[in-house]
Amino acid sequence: MSLAADSSRSLRLTALTKEFSTFTAVDSLDLTVPAGTFFALLGPSGCGKTTTLRMVAGLEVPTSGAIHLGDDDITYTKPYRRPVNTVFQNYALFPHLDIAENIAFGLRRRKVREVDAQVAEMLALVELESQADKRPAMLSGGQQQRVALARALINRPEVLLLDEPLGALDLKLRRAMQIEIKRIQTEVGLTFVHVTHDQEEAMTMADTIAVMNAGVIEQMGSPSELYENPRTTFVANFLGQSNLIPGTVSSAGSDVVKVDMHGTQVSIPAARAHVTSGSGWVGIRPEKVLLAPEGEPLDAPGNHMHGAVITDVSFFGVSTQYVVRMPWGQQLVAFEQNTGIRGVLPQGTRVDVSWRPEFAFLLPSSQDVNAGAVQGAR
């Protein structure tokens, strides 16, 4: 198993570009995936995630740029010569082979001995010992998913690519498989590059997330980094929800940037201010927005804004979503955990609104306020 001999090698994409006739699917992409991490690639449909993965797997030839694994340039290496394996979205299990033979496929091609023992071990890992002799068509979606995982993992690749491996599963099964995959990655310690549409999936599973849009990486970092300090409106909207309120920078210090927001002064930590002059979007996450019926105390040290009205209330179980209309007419979204400390506020209630200034972020006004937002949502 020489393939994973040096498992400390990181995957590096340099100026990687893929053009399809006139269309550029991946645009001079730079990316480093440290060895042994669980890396998630997140982005809207058509942004080039699959194309990127296929280039790494060797199933697509880049138009330009390079792919390195440690010191090896594998840009043009044939797929079957790369220490990289893929779990395909639709599993791509071989229908004519039984489960054991599907899993053994890679080892057999590499003329490895003692295939059986390793297959048995893998079957145990994915808890499918009893299904070894069945054909893929006889397994359920979740079971097929696990076979696809085992078939790739058994090769101990340096990098395992997962292209929306859970996309076809229903929600409950999906959550269960997330836990499973995360467990396996932790156990085997390989580099996983995981493509998904599901932000929650990315946030709970990945060590590092890269948000991709229109062929380029918008931002990369740990889940909390990305969530707490998005650098673009796209990231702010795509990864979770954000309230973006227009404001004008009134002063920029080395610690904080002060912004005038419809007459309220808000201070934003310099590290979260991606504009230092002119106008910008003040961003705040809905769960950071605190509400209290007019006049009641609000547990936030920042400025309190008065004169807001609740226009919509939705019960989510864990939390309640309020939509409030601010005095300047904009609708903001606020989440409130149903801790039971306070009952649900009815629609029409006049409320005061506040948030801690250290959680706000400031984005350039040149960016589209709706980039990455749910279509059809307000």
Binding site: A57, G58, L59, K78, P79, Y80, R81, V84, N85, T86, F88, N90, A92, L93, F94, P95, H96, F105, G106, R109, R110, D133, R135, R151, A152, N155
Partner: protein, 268 residues
């Protein structure tokens, strides 16, 4: 009441379908029956006289019949082999590759199916005669003709299967350390194989059964259909029905056996 209506609605189609199948099997039943006919006392080959097992006991009694059957089998096997190989290769080219003239070739391959047999047969004959091959008509010219008309059917059948093949599977194989050749033999071929098999089966039956094109290009070589045509003019020996029955049962056994085997394989 409404339930009864539904039941009838559900089963009416099945009943009608069964009637159509019965229609398809009437002549075969007659062939089977006639294989037990003893007409040695009569010249009338169109009536059942007496029951006998003699035809089955000595099926090769009529002069030249069994050799014609063997020749037909031989030609069909060869034609199937050649047509299946050429047709399969062409299907791969047409489905998996883009190249100039692809659509022209695509319709050219359809054309033999759009040519009436009499036209195809006579055009081949015209070619052979004007090329000075008129005197050498026989086994090889029959084979050539058969390959030509089987080819289109093979291409159409294999292409359908190939079109339905998930290309991801081949990529998965390459991802799992199989090079191009291994991918082909371990994944592509086994998956396309049922289509190839179906094409071969179709080829065999078309070739074995062909009369019109064969008759025009056969010279002095006699295939089973030609034998039947010949004897139909002077009194069909009842053993012809034995052959018809045997061919039918044989093919049914083969196909059904294969079907059951694959079903059993799937079950375990």
């Amino acid at each position: 009441m409404q339930r009864a209506g539904r039941w009838i609605g559900d089963h009416l189609v099945m009943a009608l379908g069964a009637l159509v199948l019965v229609y398809m099997f009437i002549p075969i039943a007659v062939v089977m029956l006639m294989s037990f006919n003893d007409n040695s006392r009569s010249r009338n080959v169109y009536a059942f006289r007496d029951f006998t097992l003699a035809n089955w006991a000595d099926p090769c009694k009529p002069d030249g019949m069994c050799s014609a059957v063997l020749r037909s089998v031989e030609i069909s096997l060869l034609a199937t082999l050649v047509a299946t190989i050429l047709g399969t290769l062409a299907s791969f080219a047409l489905v998996r590759h883009r190249f100039a003239g692809r659509s022209v070739i695509n319709s050219m391959i359809f054309l033999p199916m759009a040519a009436p047999e009499i036209v195809m047969g006579s055009s081949l004959l015209a070619l052979f005669v004007s090329a000075g091959f008129g005197g050498r008509l026989g086994f090889w010219t029959i084979l050539i003709a058969h390959v030509s008309f089987c080819l289109s059917f093979v291409v159409v059948t294999v292409k359908a299967r190939l079109n339905g093949l998930d290309e991801n599977l081949e990529q998965a194989a390459m991802d799992l350390y199989a090079n191009e050749a291994t991918t082909f033999w371990r994944v592509t071929f086994p998956l396309v194989f049922p289509g190839i098999l179906a094409a071969a089966l179709l080829s065999f039956s078309l070739s074995f059964d062909d009369f019109i094109i064969t008759n025009l290009n056969a010279g002095q070589t006699v295939t089973f259909p030609m034998y039947v045509w010949g004897v139909s003019q002077r009194g069909v020996p009842m053993q012809v029905n034995v052959i018809g029955t045997v061919m039918f049962l044989l093919s049914m056994t083969l196909v059904l056996g294969n079907m059951l085997a694959s079903r059993r394989r799937a079950r375990t």
